[in-house]
């Protein structure tokens, strides 16, 4: 066809495996740099909040984790759509590789939220719309993980999981709004999570850097995981045998 750089080439497992291997250290390094910078800004430079004291600093973990938990679900749904539409093998593997990190982020978000909520609101948990929808997001991740784990045939696992992700991504806005209305209808104005508009720009930068750190970490971990999945699924092929025995091709 033509000699130009062809992105689709990387959809082939044998080509993607070494590429992912080369990319992992870069993303891991970036995650470390952003993480150190973000933590330095957040823990050392950012001023103490006049209302919440030092306790607010958990925001530097909490908010990026919540963002990533939602973003990863969208990315998984994107890969699922690609996988179902073009019948590519790598897409399903990417979705599966991302899922544990997504579940981890959702859990982390809930956990840090509870730790933050106890000193600030005096409760580990309130049935706020955002908390509830984050919890449901965690349930959706767990459902995906359980479904793909229960299916032995990897191709069927990819497709069934992909379909579940698409159904889930259609439902997420419905669930979010129903929970929101349920919340406002049920208990009136309880604890509001909306923060004061004036957030010091140092805090904002710290949060953004931490978000970048989480993002890079997610990519690095997902690529590592997809490499293992690739080796396992393609174990009958020559390139995996060559890879594992250390032969050069």
């Amino acid at each position: 066809m033509n000699d130009r750089f062809n992105l689709y080439r990387f959809a082939a497992p044998a080509v993607f495996y070494p590429l992912a291997g080369r990319l992992v250290p870069w993303f891991a390094g970036l995650a470390a740099i952003f993480g150190l910078a973000g933590l330095a800004l957040g823990m050392l430079v950012a001023p103490t909040d006049f209302q919440q004291g030092e306790g607010y600093r958990i925001i530097f973990i909490h908010v990026p984790a919540s963002w990533m938990s939602m973003f990863i679900y969208l990315v998984m749904a994107f890969w699922a759509a690609i996988g179902l539409a073009f019948n590519t093998r790598l897409s399903g593997m990417m979705a599966q590789a991302l899922a544990p990190t997504g579940a981890l982020m959702a859990f982390l978000s809930l956990w840090t939220g509870a730790l933050w909520g106890k000193p600030m609101w005096g409760a580990w948990w309130v049935w706020d719309a955002r908390l509830t929808s984050e919890l449901i997001l965690l349930f959706l991740y767990i459902g995906y993980l359980a479904l793909t784990a229960a299916i032995d045939d990897p191709r069927r696992a990819d497709k069934a999981g992909g379909l579940l992700l698409l159904v889930g991504v259609v439902n997420v806005p419905i669930i979010y709004f129903s929970v929101k209305w349920w919340n406002t209808l049920h208990q009136g104005a309880s604890v509001s999570l909306t923060r004061s508009p004036s957030m010091a720009s140092v805090m904002l930068w710290g949060m953004l850097l931490m978000a970048l750190c989480f993002w890079m970490y997610t990519i690095a971990v997902a690529l590592l995981r997809v490499r293992t999945i690739l080796l396992e699924r393609e174990r009958h092929t020559d390139w995996v045998k060559a890879e594992l025995t250390g032969e050069t091709r």
Binding site: G143, A146, L147, A150, K159, A160, L166, I175
Partner: protein, 222 residues
């Protein structure tokens, strides 16, 4: 085109009526779960009245879940499902027929039984009417969404538990608006808005879910 839907409904109903024990046991499950709550939390009428919408709706969700694994399993086992998939009709319509039949044997009896159980919880006449209406309106959505889960978990080990993991989070909007309608009637706000949203959910679920379930069936049958 809808001939196939009618045919599938008629067939599934006939099969269900020959195995009445399945329908009856799901119904008694509903009755028993609902009756356990007053025993667990105490017989104060005020408390029960407040809890009734949620308890009845959660029990209805679980009772619907109970019969879902059998939605496609029997047809899958004897090969009927593959023949249906090979038929010239769109598989989505076949699934729609099965979903409607499932609702007729699971959702409809629940709606008819719910007012009797509502009486145990000291609900007013208005609330009982809205409760019946909300269960009538909401359970088709449960059957539709449940169909996707049943198709995805077809033939898997631990299918029943897995099915509940997949489907229950997706049931949350139906639960919220269904129980919300009764709750709003009890508190005097009027359940109109909730019922409208519930009807919208049911329309969307019946329109889209059978096609998603058909796609899942094709994956399972590959």
């Amino acid at each position: 085109m809808f001939g196939i839907v009618i045919a599938v409904i008629a067939r599934d109903l006939r099969l269900a009526l020959r195995r009445q024990a399945d329908i009856v046991s799901a119904l008694f499950f509903f009755v028993i779960v609902v009756s356990l709550f007053p025993l667990g939390i105490g017989p104060e009428p005020d408390l029960l009245r407040k809890l009734a919408p949620g308890v009845l709706w959660v029990a209805a969700l679980l009772a619907t879940m109970l019969s879902l694994p059998r939605l496609f399993a029997d047809d899958h086992r004897d090969g009927t499902l593959e023949q249906l998939a090979l038929a010239p009709h769109p598989l989505g319509l076949v699934v729609l027929g099965k979903v409607v039949a499932h609702w007729l044997v699971s959702g409809l009896p629940l709606a008819l039984l719910a007012p009797v159980l509502g009486l145990q919880f000291d609900l007013s006449a208005d609330a009982l009417v809205v409760l019946t209406g909300s269960i009538l309106l909401g359970t088709p959505a449960l059957s539709g969404i449940g169909g996707i889960g049943a198709a995805l978990t077809l033939g898997l080990r631990g299918g029943g538990v897995l099915l509940s993991l997949l489907v229950l989070p997706l049931y949350i909007p139906v639960l919220i608006f269904g129980a919300g309608a009764v709750d709003a009637t009890v508190t005097g706000l009027g359940g109109q808005a909730h019922l409208s949203l519930l009807a919208a959910l049911t329309c969307a679920a019946l329109g889209f879910a059978p096609w998603a379930a058909a796609a899942a069936l094709k994956i399972a049958l590959e």
